[in-house]
């Protein structure tokens, strides 16, 4: 279909969206951030700092401390000492109250956290305000309640904390991932050393302020910033009992190899390439919204993004036409603007990676379709992109792009689509759109993925276990199941 045939809803000719930027006045940011070790903000041993920038403007926001191997050791020692002297001895119901406090403080400072999350990471303010920050607070609130009820969670077992948990998190949901990691670790009685991703340290450091404010005993949570080697030093540290990692499958494999032969417990939440499957009897308009939410949510920087679309042949023309129309209405631009649907790509590096995949897709012979929207001149942006006529063997259908890029295939039969959906090393999530209940249950049983969204997509909740099959990792986060990775029996 030629671009001129795509009907665009005439919003812009009839009326324009006035800019609706969220104010940044009320937020408190320092020029320089230190490491949070043993309840205090301390300078890095290396004396080195790196810049964190706003990916929508490419302007520097603050300097962030680069932890050295020595700092990692200091943080682990602080966590060990807090575990031995305070945290493991504290009655569980008192432990819970600290975690509840953290939840409340996040709620109180939600607006500030949302704005900083958007400035530092590039995601739209609507998403950080309505999804990331509330979910982060809820996660602490949910797990706080588990702290003094663990013996009910595992019948006939005697759950015990592990000790010091080393946690490494990605840049796509910075505060939320910190909450997913810290909340269950604390509720189960462990102490923590957490490393945020180098492009998105700020909300983790604001969380450190909140933790300080909450009066949590010194050393129970330590937050150290820096690049890859900091994470590697944590993984290899002899006095860490548990590693929890969310990130790419390649790094996950490296970590699994590094901890082999040690007593460290490991959970990995890795990459994905989810199939989002549209059957002919699906409510098409809702499905189109689901496709958009599946792949363009958070600029597609989502491990469970519905990045492979499978449309049943009989409705493919209709679905793709409507999808193209919808694509035209998506607003790409200033993440702080409340009208923005798709914000900035997190970093220059990621932008380059996405653009590289666009080239690969075209070179492999797939048909690229992009929204005709304008994108800001400054900052890192990508137009929402569809690839039509892709096949199972295309790299854009096999590899995780982690951007707003959707690879579309068609199918005829249920068997065919199950085969195609499962024939991939990943197994994190999947989507199914159909009006037929029996088909939903058939599909949810046969899809080899940890989370299946039926007639919805990209929904998260503290009570809902999340995690992958196969090369998407192991262990679950969320719900009762999310306690297990932090306990021994």
């Amino acid at each position: 279909m030629a671009k001129k045939d795509i009907k665009k809803l005439e919003f812009f000719s009839d009326w324009k969206y006035a800019p609706a930027p969220e104010s940044t006045d009320h937020i408190r940011l320092q020029k320089q951030y230190e490491l949070f070790i043993n309840g205090k903000f301390v300078k890095p041993g290396s004396g080195k700092y790196f810049d964190t920038i706003n990916p929508a403007t490419e302007e520097k926001i603050a300097s962030i401390a680069e932890a050295s191997e020595k700092d990692v050791d200091t943080a682990v020692k602080a966590a060990r000492s807090a575990y031995d002297k305070t945290w493991s001895k504290m009655p569980a119901k008192e432990r819970a109250k600290y975690i509840y406090r953290i939840a409340r403080l996040i709620q109180e400072r939600a607006r500030e956290l949302s704005v900083i999350e958007t400035m530092d990471g590039g995601k739209s303010i609507r998403e950080s305000r309505d999804i990331d920050v509330p979910l982060a607070a809820n996660h602490f609130f949910y797990y706080a309640g588990w702290a003094d009820k663990l013996e009910y969670a595992f019948p006939n077992r005697n759950p015990k904390s592990l000790g010091v948990a080393g946690q490494v998190i990605p840049w796509n949901f910075p505060l939320l991932m910190a909450a997913w990691k810290i909340a269950p670790a604390l509720a189960t009685g462990n102490t923590v050393v957490l490393k945020p991703a180098e492009t998105t340290s700020l909300t983790a450091l604001k969380l450190a302020e909140i933790i300080q404010e909450s009066g949590l005993p010194d050393g129970v949570v330590n937050i150290i910033t820096g690049h890859g080697p900091v994470g590697a030093a944590m993984v290899n540290h002899k006095d860490v009992d548990k590693i929890a990692f969310t990130g790419s499958t390649n790094v996950g494999k490296w970590i699994q190899k590094a901890v082999a032969g040690t007593d460290k417990k490991l959970t990995l939440e890795l990459g994905g390439k989810a199939a989002n499957i549209i059957f002919e009897d699906a409510p098409i308009n809702q499905a189109v919204e689901g496709i958009v939410n599946g792949i363009f949510f958070n600029q597609g920087h989502v491990c469970c993004a519905g990045s492979r679309l499978f449309v049943q042949e009989s409705v493919a023309d209709e679905v793709i036409r409507k999808l193209k129309e919808r694509l035209e209405t998506l607003i790409v631009g200033d993440p702080l603007d409340k009208n923005t649907d798709i914000g900035a790509i997190n970093s220059k590096m990621q932008l380059n990676k996405i653009n590289e995949y666009l080239k690969i897709g075209v070179n492999e012979g797939a048909e690229m379709y992009q929204s005709s929207c304008s994108i800001p001149k400054k900052g890192f942006f990508v137009r929402p992109t569809l690839f039509l006529n892709t096949s199972q063997s295309h790299r854009i259908s096999q590899e995780e792009i982690f951007g707003p890029v959707l690879a579309i295939q068609t199918f005829r039969t249920v068997e065919e689509v199950i085969e195609k959906a499962n024939n991939i090393p990943y197994g994190l999530s999947a989507g199914v759109w159909t009006d037929k209940g029996s088909r939903i249950f058939n599909m949810t049983t046969k899809l080899r993925a940890g989370v299946v969204w039926a007639n919805t997509y990209n929904k998260f909740d503290p009570t809902s276990p999340f995690g992958g099959y196969k090369e998407s990792g192991f262990g679950r986060e969320g719900g009762l199941h999310g306690l297990m990775p932090y306990l021994r029996f």
Binding site: P155, N156, A260, V451, V452, T456, K459, D461, S464
Partner: protein
């Protein structure tokens, strides 16, 4: 003249059939009656064939009704009970005392009955309806991991193997088991029990051979979902863990005293399960609520 006894050739068990190792290799095992058994020294290729068989059987076995899997596990126990004498004799030939042999066979039978009962019960224990804060119905269920490669306990001929195999297949997985190298005969006779218990071909595959040779292959195969070593072998287990990272295999070291009755339970099943969470919207029309 006395009748000459017909001796059994001990072969391996792949896809429901009893082939010899494709490698043609063997290792001699001297029995207490001074007879020698030429045990198959299985190769990497045998293991790979077994993985193909196990993968092929996975869809059918995991798709069986849980109740049916329970009946089949119970059937294995029935068959083992019926051939108890044969196992007692075989264990004695491997050096067991009469009392130890009796205890091992009886515990093995009982363990199969125990896990037969779990087949349709652990799901209820470890499933959840999750009270999400949005208008969705959300539930989590355990599902089998897939193909599991097991290196059985070296110190027992039967009980160690049964104690891991039973929870593995009770949960809908299929498996390849490497028998105890020094006590392999019972494992192969147990394969005959499996073969006559309505267990579909390929669900259980048993090979004999050398862990030093095979542990790297058990852990590096890209179509194996989980690997278990039941032996305290630090160097091997490090290699197993490292190789497991090639495809993010789940790697376990289960060094247990399997004759301890505590070393059984649903957690041996759930350790070999994934958790799947499903979401579906709940309609929000007619929200005036329930009045009666």
């Amino acid at each position: 003249m006395d009748r000459i006894e017909v001796l059994k050739t001990y072969k391996i068990f792949i896809g429901g059939a009893f082939p010899r190792t494709e490698s043609g290799r063997y290792y001699p095992l001297k029995l207490k009656n001074n007879m020698t058994v030429n045990v198959s020294l299985s190769s990497r290729k045998d293991f790979r064939n077994a993985v193909v068989a196990a993968r092929g059987a996975f869809s059918g076995w995991s798709g069986r009704a849980a109740f049916n899997r329970g009946q089949i596990l119970y059937r294995i126990a029935e068959m083992l009970e019926g051939r108890k004498e044969q196992f007692l004799e075989e264990l004695k030939q491997l050096g067991y005392t009469a009392a130890a042999a009796k205890k091992e066979v009886e515990q093995s039978i009982d363990r199969l009955v125990y896990y037969a009962g779990w087949c349709d019960k652990y799901q209820q224990m470890y499933s959840a309806v999750n009270p999400v804060a949005s208008s969705h119905f959300n539930f989590s269920v355990p599902e089998p991991m897939g193909v599991v490669a097991i290196m059985a306990d070296e110190s027992t001929a039967l009980l160690g193997l049964v104690s891991v195999l039973a929870p593995c297949i009770a949960g809908g997985n299929t498996c390849i088991v490497l028998a105890s190298e020094t006590k392999p005969t019972c494992a192969i006779t147990f394969a005959e029990v499996i073969a006559t218990s309505d267990v579909p071909g390929g669900v259980v595959n048993i090979v004999t051979g050398n862990r030093k040779e095979l542990h790297a292959h058990f852990s590096s195969h890209m179509d194996v979902n989980a690997v278990i070593n039941c032996n305290d072998e630090k160097e091997f287990n490090k290699v197993i863990g490292e190789n497991a990272s090639l495809n993010v295999k789940r790697a376990f070291t289960w060094v247990r005293n399997w004759s301890d009755e505590k070393e059984r339970g649903p957690y041996y099943i759930t350790d070999l399960q994934e958790v799947k969470t499903t979401w579906h919207p709940i309609e929000n029309i007619g929200i005036s609520g329930i009045k009666y």
